[in-house]
């Protein structure tokens, strides 16, 4: 080895940063080269000087007391979230799990029931909307049936809970019959039918039906037997009482406020995120995980969580506050992950999720 090869790496040699073979070559050269040995000696002298550097710092008992005070503050904050979980018996039910997790002495059955009703109403409403055509298109079907001169409807064919559109038609027919004293053909103008189909007063229709029957008006209602299957289904849905479902949902909605619905939606999304994160898997042989989606969602939910926490605090809603406080650490940790966190980092969060059973607890909520 020559000096021009040794001098550039003498620092690395001194720092122990050379590969073993290269270090041996440098060491052998330094042993026989005064110039390189001098360079190494200079580094050693500098190092010994720096090791004499005394900053004048002392670790006093006050430093430890400060740490203890900081830890005490942490624990005081955590105590709001901590739950003294009693031993669970195999028979401990859903109610017990919720009570234990949120350290609530009593549940809010009304809230739980109301939430269940709201969810039921939302799901049913979504199904209803998907299955039923809009009022305009349905009235157009009615127009078609009328224009085709569908089978005569009889009063007895009227469903005990008549279709709103049919009812409107009957009202029109009855009104016309009353005016003209003639058997009324069900040939109302499309606009009239469309207008009437928006009338949803079934009780009034029943009255009209009764009065119509007394005037011996020939009423024409679509004969279900002659309808296509799809139309029959529509008719069937239409014969249901949409207003009943509306009332149910409305009742449920009245039991919980808009704020609580927002919290419930937020909790649901957070639970979905945590479940998704829990189910992430790294590809075989890859040391990092891809949680970009979860991270982005966590960042958004974290902001939402903070806003809801403030609302809960202002409202004095401690139960909601506890729920949101429980969610926050997980959202924060996922939101702050690197682009490609290591599997160990991901596993650490999953382990905490498993230990706290946060996903299950949110489901209960």
């Amino acid at each position: 080895m020559r000096c021009e090869d040794c001098l550039p790496v003498v620092e690395d040699y001194f720092d122990g940063a050379l590969e073993k073979d290269e270090a041996n070559r440098v060491g052998a050269h330094i042993a026989v080269c005064a110039e390189c040995a001098t360079a190494l000696d200079a580094l050693e002298a500098e190092q010994s000087l720096y090791l004499r550097y005394d900053r004048g710092l002392e670790v006093t008992p006050a430093l430890w007391e400060g740490v203890r005070a900081g830890i005490a503050r942490l624990e005081a904050d955590d105590e709001r979230l901590s739950v003294q979980a009693p031993a669970l018996t195999p028979l401990a039910g859903l109610r017990g799990r919720l009570a234990m997790f949120f350290a609530a002495l009593t549940l809010r059955p009304v809230f739980a029931s109301s939430l269940a009703l709201v969810l039921f109403g939302v799901v049913l409403g979504a199904l209803l909307l998907r299955s039923i055509d809009s009022p305009q298109s349905e009235s157009a079907q009615q127009q078609q049936m009328i224009a085709d001169g569908g089978s005569a409807l009889s009063t007895t064919a009227v469903h005990p809970e008549p279709v709103i559109q049919e009812s409107a038609e009957i009202e029109t027919v009855a009104a016309t019959a009353v005016e003209t004293k003639q058997p009324a053909a069900v040939t109302n103008s499309p606009s009239e039918v469309a207008a009437l189909s928006s009338n949803r007063d079934s009780r009034r229709v029943n009255t009209i039906n009764a009065s119509a029957s007394t005037t011996e008006i020939e009423e024409e209602l679509p004969d279900p037997d002659h309808l296509e299957l799809a139309d029959a289904e529509l008719l069937s849905f239409a014969r249901q009482q949409p207003s009943e479902f509306e009332d149910e949902a409305a009742r449920a909605s009245r039991l919980i406020g808009p704020g609580e619905r927002e919290v419930a939606r937020h909790v649901e999304r957070a639970q979905a995120l945590l479940r998704s994160f829990r189910n992430t898997r790294s590809a075989e042989g890859v040391s990092s995980a891809n949680v970009a989606y979860e991270r982005a969602l966590a960042q958004r939910l974290l902001r939402e969580n903070l806003a809801l926490q403030l609302d809960a605090e202002e409202a004095g809603d401690k139960t909601t506050g506890r729920v949101l406080d429980a969610i926050q650490p997980f959202l924060r940790d996922i939101a702050n992950m690197r682009d490609e966190p290591s599997r160990d980092e991901v596993r650490s969060i999953k382990e905490r999720m498993r230990k706290t059973e946060i996903v299950a607890a949110l489901q209960v909520y």
Binding site: D15, G16, A45, E46, V59, W64, G70, L74
Partner: protein
């Protein structure tokens, strides 16, 4: 202490000596005990690492009172986050990562660029008494002041690697974990930091060498 530090450094590179092997085990044991709620175990961790952590933070920010506050903050954060530490044998590296973050946050908050020391700061480099002391050696307290001010004039990255490598005797691998920088960048920064420090304190080292 030096041997202990180097032993530990070697241990965390996967080359434990006999003394270090025992130390690793006890560190892992301490961490487990803290996780189980043992406050005394955390006190032991504090006693073991408080001085190097405090020194490191002081080297980075140059303010004693602030360094003590940040050292406390480091250990509070460590207590809070100990559950997430994956490898108990890397406790010191992890602590220094936290300390580095605390120091950087402080520097950002204080908005002080130590690279822009006023020109009158140069006066601190002058010996109060120009008469050489016996054998031309600097008094330790003046040497301390010289080194402290020379450190303050390094930019943050160079100061970080110089402090960790030269003053704290950490390995490049550990420093890479603490700082998030590559070993190549660390070596380059350290080489330049040494050169700057040599330039600033070299005139006062003539009697030392």
């Amino acid at each position: 202490m030096e041997r202990l530090a180097m032993d530990m450094a070697g241990a965390e590179m996967g080359e434990p000596g006999a003394h270090t092997a025992a130390l690793i085990n006890s560190t892992a044991e301490l961490v487990s005990r803290v996780r189980a709620g043992d406050e005394d175990a955390f006190r032991l961790i504090f006693e073991r690492y408080s001085r190097p952590v405090l020194s490191f933070i002081f080297d980075m920010i140059g303010d004693r009172a602030a360094a003590e506050d940040l050292a406390q903050e480091t250990f509070v954060r460590a207590y809070k986050g100990l559950g997430g530490l994956r490898d108990e044998t890397k406790l010191s590296t992890w602590l220094f990562s936290i300390a580095k973050n605390c120091a950087r946050e402080s520097l950002r908050t204080r908005g002080r660029d130590r690279n822009k020391v006023e020109i009158d700061g140069e006066e601190a480099f002058e010996l109060r008494d120009e008469t050489p002391t016996p054998a031309g050696r600097l008094l330790d307290k003046e040497l301390n002041a010289v080194i402290e001010r020379a450190l303050a004039r390094l930019d943050e990255d160079k100061r970080l690697v110089f402090t960790l490598k030269v003053l704290q005797q950490r390995s490049y691998e550990e420093i890479a974990e603490i700082t998030g920088h590559s070993v190549g960048k660390l070596k380059t920064d350290l080489h330049r930091a040494r050169a700057e420090m040599r330039r600033r304190i070299g005139p006062y080292l003539g009697g030392e060498q």
